[in-house]
């Protein structure tokens, strides 16, 4: 009988790196080799090379990044957990051309910047050769998608789609004191005489800006993949304190916001028609809110939850995570049955993949209907956007199969 091992199975990111590192060196024929192998490389050849290719260059599993400019060193700064964060470019001798070849599995989505170092100066810049960008609350990153992960059509504005509308409200809150601004998404062809399910979204503003949430909802509802629904887009004033299992936050959502919405809009007043959604700390907020009010929210959509915990010893994620760890530890010890259905997604290139995988059997043991999906992606808003179709259509299925308009 084989001895048990304490080594965890490698993540796909680790597998990719391991496979790259251990592969015997063999002659590869990549576009960049035409420059690297050229003895008398001319300026014309370099210009032509940059003109003729789209960057990064995708060739099988190989992804070639290239940079042109004066530098002492050039680094690829990426966000794949398991890979060394800084990957050095090589310089073509005698020229200001830098390149790096990485091997990435298909269906990978990578966000990155280029770090150009001259003397004491470091500049993290967007890849000048790559027009593909992803916005996030901190600015933007360059994006590369390997084969099989092309951006889906339902994430783009579709002229054939009837748009829903956003309505702004201020909702009074005793839990917080004062009032909170929310936006309410009403689906196309909204009618007050109909009853709709309700989804309450954490970081609603960011979901709108960085995950195209309105476009996604418009398209998925238009295509009958998701039921027409009312979506409440909430935003925290102090996200890092309000989201990790914060009693006033849960109270606001459950005892103030939802009842207010149910009075203002035609919402089905039953748990299975009521959902919470969030990403990262927002997923912690969604889960902790449902945990504090078990049975009230029948549907949970948790994306890349920051479900840090400690079975033993101290966590290494810094003091911001103290309340998160306290909650997740308590949840893992006594999860109860917070909801009916829960959709969990996480990128395999995230540092949180272990915590999310570890959460799955705990959620399953509660008796909830659990669906867990992974993608070769990082902790970013495009990852969360790209999982919305699968998550929303599972929690709030539309009438696609039966309706032919």
């Amino acid at each position: 009988m084989a001895a048990p091992t304490l080594d965890p199975a490698p993540s796909p990111a680790e597998e990719a790196v391991a496979s790259y590192a251990s592969e015997p060196k063999k002659a590869r024929s990549l576009a960049i080799d035409t420059l690297v192998g050229e003895q008398n490389l001319s300026e014309d050849q370099i210009v032509r090379f940059f003109d003729e290719h789209k960057f990064p260059i995708l060739e099988g599993k190989s992804v070639t990044f290239a940079y042109r400019g004066k530098a002492d060193r050039v680094l690829l700064q990426h966000f794949i957990y398991g890979l060394e964060t800084s990957q050095p470019f090589k310089q073509i001798a005698g020229h200001d051309v830098w390149y790096l070849v990485l091997e990435l599995p298909k269906k990978s989505h990578l966000q990155y910047k280029i770090n150009v170092i001259r003397g004491e100066d470091q500049h993290w810049i967007l890849d000048p050769q790559n027009p593909q960008r992803a916005l996030d609350p901190y600015g933007a990153n360059s994006v590369v998608r390997t084969h099989g992960t092309e951006r889906a059509d339902w994430t783009y504005t579709d002229p054939e789609t009837r748009p829903g509308q956003l309505v702004e409200h201020w909702v009074a809150s005793q839990a917080f004191g004062g009032s909170r601004r929310i936006q309410v998404y009403l689906p196309a062809r909204y009618r007050p005489t109909r009853r709709y399910p309700l989804l309450v979204v954490h970081d609603g503003h960011d979901y709108l800006r960085f995950s195209s949430l309105k476009t996604v909802l418009d398209n998925l509802i238009e295509r009958l993949e998701v039921a027409p629904m009312i979506v409440a887009l909430t935003n925290a004033e102090e996200r890092l304190s309000e989201y990790p299992d914060h009693q006033p936050h849960a109270q606001f959502l459950t005892e103030e916001l939802v009842p207010w919405l149910e009075e203002a809009y035609p919402i089905r007043r039953e748990p299975l028609a009521r959902g919470l959604m969030g990403a990262s700390f927002g997923a912690v907020a969604a889960l902790s809110c449902a945990w504090r009010y078990p049975g009230f929210y029948g549907q949970l959509l948790l994306q890349s939850g920051s479900f840090a915990f400690t079975d033993i010893g101290q966590h290494q994620r810094g003091p911001l995570f103290d309340p998160v760890v306290e909650f997740v530890n308590a949840f893992r010890k006594n999860p109860g049955r917070p909801s009916e259905k829960v959709f969990v997604s996480c990128g395999t290139y995230e540092s949180l993949i272990y915590e999310n995988r570890s959460m799955v059997p705990i959620l399953q043991d509660t008796g909830m209907d659990v669906r867990y999906v992974e993608a070769r992606d990082g902790h970013n808003w495009e990852n969360w956007r790209d999982r919305l179709r699968e998550g929303l259509s599972w929690l709030f299925p539309g009438s696609l199969w039966m309706v032919y308009e």
């Binding site: 993949e225 699968e390 259509s393 696609l400 199969w401 039966m402 032919y404 308009e405």
Partner: protein, 309 residues
């Protein structure tokens, strides 16, 4: 034989009026929008587009009223629908297991002499499964008919009489799309084709599906589920040898020869005709005619054009 015209979706760029003009229909149009369910009454756009008097038959609402008036009818209907749903689930079990080998055989590059027989057998098994399912569904419908045959349902009869009255003053019947099962059930419950006599029929999307020999639900890339086309029920049988496929451009991977071939061969001899926006085909009781350029799924897996007449 009543003139029958099938159209693609009408929502974005409605073209109904051209069909009515072509058929020289100038009088009142009786509309069936029961597939829109609670939106049934929203026919203003259609009325404006047609520029003719339009009377909505309100079959969805009439059905609800008939059910409310005749509880026995409602219960019989509900039990039948529950049974059909369960049967559909059971049918799906076998379908999901049988369709994959058929796809793999169509994609295989093994010795063609050996392969052809295996492919035919796999597709024949699927066709047999579909036919068995339809036979069982027919039994359920027959039992329903027998159950209600000797009873009087004054609520339903009253509604039927009103519908017949409207139809007698109409020059054509327009059947819109929507929820295909809801629409089919209402058409069947009211015996609509019987009431409509020889009125010209113009139908689109689910309306077109409901009038054929069999209803096939389809979507190659749904966000949930296997995406295997499935037989749902018998249609009203107003035409034969054709399977209308509304929204095929969006619902089917028409660039995948394996899927196209499997679809076409599984449902042959019916011809599988995409009914996308702009499509218009007519049936004279014997032959189909493309009034505007339309497509067809061929048995070899390619999608060709049906030329305009």
């Amino acid at each position: 034989m009543r003139p029958l015209t099938l159209l693609g979706p009408q929502r974005l760029r409605p073209a109904l009026v051209a069909t009515f003009d072509r058929l020289d229909i100038t009088g009142q149009v009786a509309a069936i929008t029961a597939g829109w369910q609670e939106r049934e009454a929203e026919v203003d756009e259609m009325r404006e587009h047609l520029g003719r008097p339009v009377v909505d038959l309100m079959l969805h609402q009439r059905c609800e009223q008939a059910f409310a008036a005749d509880l026995e009818l409602f219960q019989a209907h509900r039990q039948r629908q529950d049974q059909l749903r369960k049967m559909q689930r059971l049918y799906r079990y076998r379908l999901d297991f049988m369709i994959q080998p058929a796809r793999e055989l169509l994609l295989s590059t093994e010795d063609p002499e050996l392969l052809v027989a295996e492919q035919e057998a796999a597709i024949a098994a699927l066709r047999q499964l579909d036919n068995q399912h339809l036979d069982r569904i027919a039994v359920v419908h027959r039992e329903f008919e027998e159950r209600i045959a000797d009873q009087q349902f004054p609520g339903l009869e009253r509604q039927r009489a009103e519908v017949a009255e409207i139809l007698s003053g109409s020059a054509a019947l327009a059947i819109a799309g929507g929820h295909v099962a809801v629409l089919l059930n209402r058409l069947r419950l009211f015996g609509l084709l019987e009431l409509a006599g020889d009125l010209p029929v113009i139908a689109w999307s689910a309306g077109a599906m409901a009038l054929g020999e069999r209803i096939v639900l389809f979507h190659d890339s749904p966000p949930q589920g296997a995406g295997n086309a499935e037989v749902m029920d018998h249609g009203l049988g107003l035409f034969r040898d054709m399977l209308p496929l509304p929204h095929a451009r969006r619902r089917l991977r028409l660039d995948d020869p394996c899927r196209v071939q499997l679809f076409a061969r599984r449902f042959a001899p019916a011809r599988c005709i995409p009914l996308d926006e702009g499509a218009e085909i007519s049936w004279d009781g014997e032959h189909w005619r493309a009034e505007k350029p339309a497509q067809i799924l061929h048995l070899d897996g390619h999608v060709g054009r049906l030329e305009a007449a």
